[in-house]
Symmetry: C2
Subunit: 321 residues, 2 copies
Amino acid sequence: MREHGGNLDLAQQRFGGRAEDWIDLSTGINRLPYPVGEVSARAWSALPSRAEIDALHQAARGAYRTSAPVVAMGGAQAAIQLLPQLAAPGRARILAPTYNEYAGVLSAAGWDVEEVGELDALAGADLAVVINPNNPDGRCHMPKGLLALLPRVRRLVVDESFADAAPQLSLASEADRPGVLVLRSFGKFYGLAGLRLGFAIGNAADVAKLAAMSGPWPISGAAIAIGCRALRDDAWAETTTARLARDCVRLDAMTQSQGWRLVGGTPLFRLYQTPDALGAQEKLARWQIWSRVFAREPSWLRLGLPGSESEWTRLAEALAG
Amino acid sequence: MREHGGNLDLAQQRFGGRAEDWIDLSTGINRLPYPVGEVSARAWSALPSRAEIDALHQAARGAYRTSAPVVAMGGAQAAIQLLPQLAAPGRARILAPTYNEYAGVLSAAGWDVEEVGELDALAGADLAVVINPNNPDGRCHMPKGLLALLPRVRRLVVDESFADAAPQLSLASEADRPGVLVLRSFGKFYGLAGLRLGFAIGNAADVAKLAAMSGPWPISGAAIAIGCRALRDDAWAETTTARLARDCVRLDAMTQSQGWRLVGGTPLFRLYQTPDALGAQEKLARWQIWSRVFAREPSWLRLGLPGSESEWTRLAEALAG
């Protein structure tokens, strides 16, 4: 398995404790999740029906402000797994540094993968990948800049896993253009990563191909029921967006006292330059707070946002300790 | 979408009613499901950890009585979706008539698919597929007969989606032999098809390849938690196996009065030869009981087993009516 956040196993092996004792800030998953509520007996027992899946697609179109074709999948990751098969292997270019699954999955499937540092350098790719906003550094691209790239690449995949709280960045409304494919994660903003839900939004041909590869029942009944409810709840999304913005300011202020410099981030995580990231990770881990470090950038530490007030307090104590 | 059971949308369009009003006997899903119980906050929110997924694999090995490598996936269907990529397209032979997804998925991926009527006729295939016991006719093969086929095919896929209540049929304990791949469905016997959980059991190379194609988080936290609990519950499995055996006798007796002849079946569904299957489907549908008919075999009607006593009563009334 490639290096990821959310690897709490490793934290437990090294520092002890049960999973539920830890505050896992090693991911960008909202720690105040959408309330799951009751899941009906039918959602557990029955195969999801066509009508139920269509209703979820409709809810996703509403939340993501698009009328383009949509297909639900088991997380944005499930779409990444299928990307290599959308076309015969060719030249993939990925705007890096970024989420390492794209390079890994494409290379394994025989694609020629190049990581590039600038948007312009994606030109000429058969498959260009941009994570927007980017993980882990929060680099952003406005839709106009991405659309300008379209004539110069065969297919542009825009991973908007962290775009829920920054809808102005989204290319979802333009996703039915030929050559565009937008991926959305449900679990991060809604804090329900264990549900395994994400969406691909694109032109009819690509979406039909992804749907065929995913099979008739790619997501659970609970994902459909909870996803429908959450994606239609504009008030919750608005409140959460505002809260996350405030919490980012709060976290940046708290960590400044450590001599950490903000490299960038999104409303769901912050990336700091630290004098000693491994040391900082260990210091937090002694308080059972898990964070993300990067083998390739040994000064970087990424932190998700604490949820409850008691989580904020423990983080403050850990930083002071 | 190919013709399947569980298409309650169609029943509702034609005969009205809400999904929860219907008794859906169009599938082989146990209607007295394993009790879901509480799902922890962490199962909803966190990405499944390596340790949690490993524990589920261990529980599956226990339930399926094997020490072979196992990988959990989003239903047996998720494994079927990936089958075409286990090897370069070649000659696939499927013991038919059977579940139509194999032929559909393999053909779409460029395999040369032939449906054959006898086990022996699978010889020579690059990929041979046997559903054991078979859906819809319940045809069974003992492990010895399947193993005898091994030297004559490149890869043998045995779909044991309906084998939970007939463990003597299972090839799971032999699944780590080169060329064998066993697929198991969790949702049918445990009555939780909406959970989307299944397993591939095979040799290390095949299982590693399927795991890599499925990605790091192919199933939900709820599937892991409930799956672990259910697969370790031998007492529930035993009671359920005994109950299903009794219920098959009861259903066969009830339907005999209609002049229906048992073609075959498994402990989770029965296939009947009827004078007029579409007429019988409509008769049951007027009581909001949905059944499965087959375009290619217009006299066949497949019925799952009712669950509660009130479901049995409604079925008796529908048959009498």
